[in-house]
């Protein structure tokens, strides 16, 4: 009987191997971790945007039966380091895990209660008495810059945390030689990442070994370990961080949070395991937010639509304290704001400004959605002002495919691309000329149909370590270990920390093909610093392009060793041996083979020493990328606006994405679907709202509008494939592309629909009332 043929897995739609355990309730999230003697921690948070703390009385709280400890900022003074930012900034405020003397945003942690159960801990917090003196609040970053504005961190004597100025080419010359300079203001509103699983932490101190174990719903367990070790003043080799199942992160779980520090510290001092699980209200108020940039754009153009330059002034909200990457994100927005276009001159200025709000940080796209919004709203503004077709304006300004690798004015080098191909494909799918004719016809009938385009390019595979701030722990590299176990099964340890991306599936596909084995013969482990070698983690669409490349490097090392062993057994030079269907075979004649198991037996049994080969089959690699990758694509959508109610309805949504080579189309589509959902959410629905007193008005999911399925269109997905030359897999990355491409696409579509009213520039989210008001005032005029 012939052996069953092992199929090839890369490029096929393998279902996520993670899902059965998650859907059947067999996953272990932080809240599922239960330890003997475990206590519960609950946090009392500031109800004020800005206030002086005169006194905190915890006496009554401490007396409640079952309450073990009630801790304030004063109790922790000098015992813990400040929460940190990894990015450089002129002014970095001291950020204690529990407020000391002053609170600066609604939700800031003030008191921690530890009790035998969370109900008693909450009882304790109800009994805490705090005397606050409310202080003037700044919730608008532009007002924070005004003379006489209240200063949030008095020691800096300014609300500006940091500033940046970047210029390239002759921007003043571009302004002078332009036929027109188109000026407008864009707002990327504040968003909440809202992972399905809120955050959580369980800390366990082993008094005997002096080791701290922390389970945390994090995107980067090693980074978290490094930062926590510093804050808790504990050596890294006595600290273990475990990211169990993590139910989404979107950037918000990259940050190092007060509760992780508190749980760790209190587990060490109280000598009991401590569990803290976030409530949704806490999630919305105290997880790092996203976006919150105001941009003043100036676009010098020729009358034929040629863009001569791009100038922007950014005011970026930093919130009250800088979180891990808060000052870093705006840089990506500035560096990428010229998008897919050849722009001879560029200049931007950024002010990162303190306000009495939670800090924005990385949120799916992290700076690139804002950049793309600038580039793509600019294209439509140019088309509108010059009465040109938006598709033609894009085509005219695209960096041509012959120009790659292409250096853009900010200095970044785009690896590969064919922007016109993606645009053409999208236009063909929606049948653009026919659609324009239908639109004209509909307008005659009083129907307002809009067509939106967005040709995006973004940065993935972050990245060369030099791309990250020198002050940041970890690097832009990634790590992998591969072990061929004695029974011919493979274990992979990856330094990335997937939390929905599906690398347990895609990495297994790669390895199965490399060794000619089944996908079930591969296990992928991640997210435990005691098991996995140091890794940087999952963010910036780097998991597969960087983590996958590291895995390929380790695999090649292992394969070289196995070939060396096989070559002694087969009496054939190693370079003539290939892995085939569970065997090691002669490349020129696959029938001449030995079972792979025999090679593995030789390596582990080692009864016959093999000269120049150590026993065992275990290889590691650390891959430092030489450059970032730049995925791109064109999204096109059709909407209809109801002029009586301002409601936007989707008629079609087409996405043509190019993420380079694809390992698993199903996973790619999943990423694109979710990304588009979040991008549309920004365009139409979501907005974190603080009032002028710094009160969070979108404090629950009854008010913060995460879209439901019925609020989203049917997605028509297609792709082009332009392999990246920067990594051995040709992969570009796809985790954020959907979010980046969809927001401007929808906003452009709505504005296109509103063109007959002369409405040019409405801010997101394009809520019905905002559109209705604009139509109403246009009709009056």
């Amino acid at each position: 009987m012939a052996a069953a043929v092992v199929p090839k897995f890369v490029g096929t739609r393998v279902k996520r191997r993670e899902d059965p355990r998650l859907i059947s309730g067999n996953g272990t999230y932080v809240d599922d971790v239960k330890l003997p003697g475990m206590l519960s921690m609950v946090i009392l948070r500031s109800p004020y945007g800005h206030a002086k703390i005169n006194s905190i009385n915890v006496e009554a709280a401490r007396k409640i039966p079952g309450v073990v400890a009630v801790v304030t900022g004063e109790d922790l003074k000098g015992k813990l380091g400040s929460l940190t930012t990894a990015a450089p900034a002129e002014h970095i405020p001291y950020h204690p895990p529990l407020a000391q003397g002053r609170v600066r945003f609604v939700g800031e942690a003030v008191v921690a209660a530890i009790a035998t159960d969370p109900y008693k801990a909450q009882d304790a917090l109800d009994a805490v008495e705090i005397d606050y003196d409310p202080l003037p609040v700044i919730s608008d970053p532009e007002k924070a810059l005004e003379d006489g504005a209240p200063i949030i961190h008095e020691e800096f004597k300014t609300n500006i945390s940091t500033r940046a100025q970047v210029a390239s080419g002759d921007i003043d010359g571009a302004m002078r030689s332009a036929d027109r300079v188109i000026k407008f203001r864009l707002v990327n509103q504040r968003l909440a990442p809202v992972p399905m699983e809120p955050r959580g932490a369980v800390a366990q101190w082993n008094q005997g070994s002096g080791q701290l174990t922390l389970w945390s719903s994090t995107q980067g367990p090693h980074l978290l370990r490094s930062y926590l070790a510093e804050i808790l003043k504990l050596p890294e080799n006595r600290m273990r961080v475990i990211a169990p199942e993590v139910g989404g992160g979107f950037g918000a779980k990259l940050n190092v949070y007060a509760e992780e520090v508190l749980a760790g510290y209190l587990a060490m001092t109280l000598k009991h395991p401590i569990k803290w699980v976030e409530r949704r209200r806490e999630n919305l108020a105290t997880n790092t937010h996203g976006r919150d940039q105001i941009v003043y754009v100036e676009a010098p153009v020729k009358n034929d639509g040629t863009l001569l330059g791009l100038k922007a002034k950014f005011i970026c909200d930093a919130g009250a304290y800088l979180q891990l990457l808060t000052p870093l994100i705006p840089g990506f927005s500035g560096m990428m704001m010229t998008g897919c276009y050849k722009v001879p001159a560029m200049a931007f200025e950024q002010l990162v400004v303190f306000t009495n709000k939670m800090a924005p940080d990385a949120y799916r796209g992290a700076g690139r959605p804002e950049a793309c919004y600038i580039a793509e709203r600019t294209m439509d503004m140019v088309a509108l002002e010059l009465n040109l077709d938006p598709a033609e304006v894009r085509r005219k300004n695209f960096i041509p495919k012959e120009a790659f690798p292409a250096q853009i004015p900010s200095g970044l080098v785009y690896d590969s691309g064919d922007y016109a191909a993606a645009l053409d494909k999208a236009l063909k799918i929606i049948d653009y000329p026919k659609l324009r004719a239908e639109q004209a016809e509909a307008r005659k009938q009083g129907r307002y149909i809009g067509i939106g385009l967005c040709s995006y390019v973004e940065i993935c595979g972050i990245g060369p370590s030099a791309m990250l701030p020198p002050t940041m722990k970890g690097g832009g590299w990634e790590s992998a270990t591969i072990r061929m176990e004695p029974d011919c099964k493979v274990t992979v340890l990856t330094g990335v920390s997937p939390h929905g991306q599906g690398q347990e599936t895609s990495f297994a596909q790669m390895i199965a093909d490399e060794f000619g084995i089944g996908i079930d013969d591969v296990t992928v482990l991640h997210g435990d610093t005691a098991i996995v070698q140091y890794g940087t983690g999952t963010f910036g669409s780097r998991g597969t392009s960087v983590g996958g490349a590291a895995l390929m490097m380790a695999t090649q090392k292992l394969q070289a060793k196995m070939k060396k062993i096989a070559s002694t057994m087969m009496e054939t030079p190693p370079d003539q041996i290939v892995f085939h269907q569970g065997t090691m075979a002669l490349a020129s004649d696959l029938s001449k083979s030995i079972p792979m198991q025999k090679v593995v037996d030789a390596a582990y049994g080692y009864k016959v020493p093999i000269p120049g080969v150590e026993p065992g089959l275990n290889e590691s690699a650390f891959y430092e990328p030489t450059a970032c990758t730049f995925p791109f694509g064109t999204h096109a959508c059709v909407v209809e606006v109801d002029p009586d109610t301002g409601v936007v309805k989707f008629l079609r949504y087409v996405a043509v994405d190019d993420c380079g080579r694809v390992i698993n189309p199903l996973l790619v589509e999943g990423q694109v679907h979710g990304g588009i959902a979040q991008g549309i959410a920004q365009a139409l629905y979501e907005e974190v709202i603080y009032d002028e007193n710094g009160q969070l008005l979108t404090a629950t999911l009854m008010d913060y509008a995460v879209p439901k399925a019925e609020m989203l269109p049917h997605y028509e997905l297609d792709s082009t494939v332009t392999p990246s030359p920067v990594n051995p897999l040709g992969i570009k990355g796809v985790g954020e592309a959907g979010t980046i491409g969809s927001t401007p696409c929808v906003v452009n579509a709505v504005h296109d629909a509103l063109k007959p009213f002369g409405i040019k520039n409405l801010d997101m989210p394009l809520k019905p009332e905002r559109i209705w008001r604009a139509i109403k005032s246009a009709r009056k005029a």
Binding site: A705, P768, E769
Partner: protein
């Protein structure tokens, strides 16, 4: 999400529940589907010492026809109302409204009695109850009384229910011939509640004129109300587009419209007019004369 300490009591009958209410007085709250009360308890905005669960009382669950009326038990879940063959064929407006509430999870827990007793200004049911002129039965230790829908909704989250009373059922007159209806709402994007919801019910006479017009509106003001100015403007008239539009223009008359982050008072009033016009048009378009 950790409520304060409370005692849970499961009532086996209405009588037993009434006894518990009497015993615990103001310290007790009735629990049915729990969709309004439990979130408030989790935030400790409500801290009742005693919860009397009436959700398991058989007499309070179900739909029956009685003396020409359709009677729905107070603890009947929305999904059952939406899916009931009797309701769908004889009281279609209520089925349509029930199907528009929340999502499938909400419809499988939330109850008609709970919704009405809570009287959230943005709840869907009250619009249909007003348009259908439902009658709400309230029982207490001293007997039972029936309150008309229009008298039941008093003010923002305030109803005619007195301490010690339990909402046991709601009853309706079935739709008559030549009647069309619909429930249309502008959904609040986060909660799914009605920013404005309009329940319209129109009966035409044999000549095709509007014989009876009922319009219930929720979301606009502090309580759901009958838009009587709309009703009278259309009654007796031919249902032509212009006439419907003129009638619908009165939808927000005299109402002090609510405002929040999702819609200003001005926009809510406009939505009420637009949705009333559309609901009337749609209702009338379904009538087979």
């Amino acid at each position: 999400m950790f409520p304060a300490r409370f005692q849970y009591h499961r009532a086996g009958s209405v009588k037993e529940a009434l006894g518990m209410l009497q015993q615990f007085g103001d310290d007790a709250k009735l629990l049915s589907g729990g969709h309004s009360l439990l979130p408030m308890m989790k935030l400790r905005l409500a801290q009742p010492a005693h919860l009397v669960d009436i959700g398991g009382i058989n007499d309070l669950v179900g739909i029956r026809e009685e003396g020409g009326k359709i009677v729905i038990g107070g603890a009947t879940i929305h999904d059952q109302v939406a899916g009931s063959a009797v309701i769908r064929s004889k009281l279609g407006l209520l089925a349509e409204c029930a199907a528009a509430i929340g999502d499938i999870q909400v419809r499988n827990r939330g109850t008609i009695g709970g919704s009405l007793a809570h009287s959230d200004p943005a709840a869907d049911y009250p619009a249909a109850i007003q348009a259908l002129e439902g009658e709400i039965r309230l029982e207490s230790g001293s007997g039972a009384r029936t309150v008309k829908a229009n008298d039941f909704f008093v003010d923002l989250m305030t109803t005619a229910i007195k301490p010690g009373e339990i909402l046991t059922s709601v009853s309706f007159t079935p739709h008559t011939a030549r009647t069309g209806y619909t429930y249309l709402k502008h959904r609040q994007p986060a909660s799914g509640f009605a920013v404005v919801g309009v329940a319209a019910l129109v009966t035409l006479d044999t000549k095709g004129n509007c014989e009876r017009v009922r319009v219930g509106i929720t979301g606009l003001g502090p309580k759901a109300f009958r838009a009587t100015a709309v009703e009278s403007a259309l009654t007796g008239k031919k249902p032509e587009a212009a006439t419907i539009g003129q009638a619908a223009a009165h939808a927000a008359d005299g109402i002090d419209a609510l405002a929040d982050i999702h819609a200003s008072a001005e926009f809510r009033a406009e939505l009420a007019r637009v949705y009333t016009r559309r609901a009337l048009q749609q209702a009338i378009s379904t009538i087979k004369v």
